[in-house]
Structures are given as structure tokens and as C-alpha cells.
């Protein structure tokens, strides 16, 4: 009898927890404050915006965050917590972009937005294609861990398991230096099982020195499926 009661209690507690978990994720989060790093990016991106304008953008971003969380939940539930990030440097403006082969960069100047609102699309459908943007950070002394807010492009959504879809990061203090003088900080596969869709951003690498400029690159290389179609919405460094 005791064992049965215990089982019922555990079952009820489990149900309550499960229900609470679901309702938490189902609620609109427009009133939820943004994580610290997004608040900082918001201020950096819109230094002259009024508080009403900032609130409007906050609501958009929070809604987008909620959509991302729902997608995360629908896939594997592995959620990283952006609030653990702290810093003040993000990519403010794209200086130039270029492509090699049949690679393409779409709307590069919109990279300072947020997922689904503004993004740069790097598209490299064939072997040896490259797509590039070179951008200036908001701080001349950006450094530390570098994250890209990113996701799959329109032709690769639903193909999370494919071999391609990589983003590469380089940093420099001279945007016009030849690439062999840039510092390669790392890359991330924007597909399962690494980050996306676990989180709306990916860790790209850690800059070993301060930098003012960043190169975001997609290159279709190697004998694997080289196809890349990725979106970059924001570039962020944890210390500056």
C-alpha cells in the first residue's frame, strides 16, 4: 500500500513538473527581459533609439527568442544559456563582401540584425566556392570568445544532417590585409549534432589577441558534401 501511494505521489509530481515545463515554454515571452548580452547588443546597435523604439525591438527579439526556444524544444531540448555570456563587442558594419567561384553573399549589410529580421546569407553550392564578409567590430579592442548568431539558409532548412554548412571566423586589425595574415579563430558546423538548432548562436573560437575586424566565411571544401547555405545575423565577442 505504502509503495503504491509513493508511486502515485511521484507520478503526480512528475505530471505537475511536466505541465509546468510545457506551459512555461508556451507562454508569450514579450515581457521577458533579454539576456544581458542581447541587451548590450541592442544598445550598441541602436544608440540613438528612444526607449519606446528599444522596447519595440526588445519585443521582436524576445518573440524571436521564444520561437527559437520552441524549435529547440521540438528537436532535442539542449538549451544553452545566453545569459552566461557577458561582453560588449559586436559586429557593427560590414566593410565589404566578396565571393569566389559561384559562391554568393546576400544582403550582407543587414548582418547586425537578429534572426529572421536581418541577416547575411553565405551560399556556396559548389566545391571550392567561397562567400565572405569583412566587418568592423563595435570596439577596437574586441576579443575573447566569438559567437555567431546564425542558422541554416533557405535551401538547407530540414537538411540538418547533411555534411556541409560551416561558418569560419578570422580576425585582424587590418581589414585589407591578405588572408594569410589574418588569424583563423575557428569554425562551427551549423547543423546537428553540434549547435544549431540547439541554440540560436554558435561558438566560433577564441581570439588570442584583440581585434577590430572580423571575417565571416563559408567555403565549400574537401571531399565531403561541400554544400553551404547559412545565415549570419550577428557576430559577438565576449570581451572588448
Amino acid at each position: 500500500m505504502k509503495r503504491k501511494s509513493l508511486f502515485i505521489i511521484v507520478f503526480i509530481v512528475f505530471l505537475l513538473l511536466a505541465t509546468n515545463f510545457s506551459s512555461t515554454h508556451a507562454e508569450p515571452t514579450t515581457n521577458t527581459p533579454l539576456p544581458d548580452f542581447l541587451e548590450k547588443i541592442l544598445i550598441l546597435l541602436h544608440p540613438n533609439a528612444s526607449s519606446a523604439e528599444l522596447d519595440q525591438i526588445r519585443i521582436q527579439w524576445a518573440n524571436q527568442l521564444r520561437l527559437n526556444q520552441e524549435r529547440i524544444k521540438s528537436t532535442n531540448g539542449a538549451v544553452l544559456h545566453p545569459s552566461t555570456l557577458a561582453g560588449s563587442a559586436c559586429l557593427l558594419s560590414v566593410i565589404y563582401s566578396y565571393t569566389y567561384g559561384t559562391g554568393a553573399v546576400y544582403n550582407p549589410n543587414a548582418i547586425v540584425g537578429w534572426i529572421d529580421y536581418n541577416f547575411a546569407r553565405l551560399y556556396t553550392p559548389n566545391l571550392d566556392d567561397e562567400a565572405f564578409i569583412i566587418g568592423q567590430m563595435s570596439s577596437a579592442n574586441a576579443g575573447g570568445d566569438v559567437y555567431f548568431v546564425s542558422k541554416l539558409g533557405p535551401t538547407t532548412v530540414g537538411k540538418e544532417n547533411m555534411a556541409g554548412n560551416y561558418l569560419i571566423g578570422f580576425v585582424s586589425n587590418d581589414p585589407y590585409a591578405p588572408m594569410e595574415q589574418w588569424i583563423f579563430i575557428g569554425y562551427a558546423k551549423i547543423t546537428w549534432p553540434y549547435y544549431w538548432p540547439k541554440a540560436p548562436y554558435v561558438y566560433i573560437g577564441t581570439a588570442s589577441q584583440t581585434f577590430s575586424y572580423i571575417a565571416v566565411c563559408a567555403w565549400a571544401a574537401g571531399g565531403l558534401d561541400p554544400y553551404n547555405d547559412v545565415l549570419v545575423d550577428c557576430v559577438y565577442a565576449t570581451s572588448g
Partner: protein, 172 residues
Amino acid sequence: MEKAILLVTILVLAFLVPELAGSVGGSEEDFPFASSINIISPSNSTYSTKSLTLNVSITALIASNINVSMRYILDGTYNGEIPLTMHPRNQSASALYVGSTPIPELPDGPHRIDVYCRIEIDSVGINGVYYQKYVCQRNATVYFTVNTTSSIAPNSPPETQQSKPSINPKVS
């Protein structure tokens, strides 16, 4: 108790060592930004000369903290370096590395060359993990035959002007 502490220490070190000392990847999945090695010559055929030149190429990412080097092993014994020349592409983060080196004189018979490319990267993040040094390798193999006694020479590459190291590699 002491054994348990020792075991935990070993486990912790086992997790830490790859982070501190670097990592070696063995496939393109480990580092997709280098192509396969292309062995331009010799190819899988029969040569009527003992003097051959090894020509290889690979395309790889370029940066100040990426170092690409190549070596080859002839018939499982002779180990030689392949000097590389980098050819950057205009407005590109990748470059074509071309290597050329004379092979030691070969006796008649079948031969094998294994080419290894080592890519070393300092301070890099790879799929969410930071490495102080990351090393990955590519390799490729070519089989060919030297037959200087036959009158038919289907493949006779031009003689190289470079001096050749002299060894007597074993014929596998």
C-alpha cells in the same frame, strides 16, 4: 581510497590532455577546410625510368596560425619532405599548395608512395571546443611500376634537373 583518487586523477587528466596539448584529427570530418591530397605524378602506371619526380597539391585554408607541411614514404621505408609553395587565390581564404620533390632512384618492380599532409593550427575553436593546438592529417597513396627493361614505355615523365638523393629502397 588512494586507488580511487588515482583513478579520478587519471580520468581528469585524460579529459584535459587533449585540450591542453592539442588534438589530432584523422579525417576530413575533423577539419573540412583542406581538400584531399592530389598526387599529380607518378600515377598508377608503368615508368621506363628510375628517376621520377613526386608532384602533389592540396587546397587548404590560409591564415597566420595555420601551417601546412607534407612528407612522403617510399615503399614503406624512405621518409622524405615535400617542399611546398603556396599559391593564394585572389580574394579567397584558401590557397593551393603545390609540392615537388625528386624521388630516390628506383629499382625495377612495383612501388608505393604514401603522401602525408599535416595541418597545424594554433589557438582555434572547432565545433564548440577550443584547442591550443589542433593537428589534422590527410594522406594519399599511389602504386606504380618501374620497368626499364621493356621496350614499351607508356609513361615516361620528363627528367628532372634537380639532384636526386640516392638510396636503395626496398621493393615491396
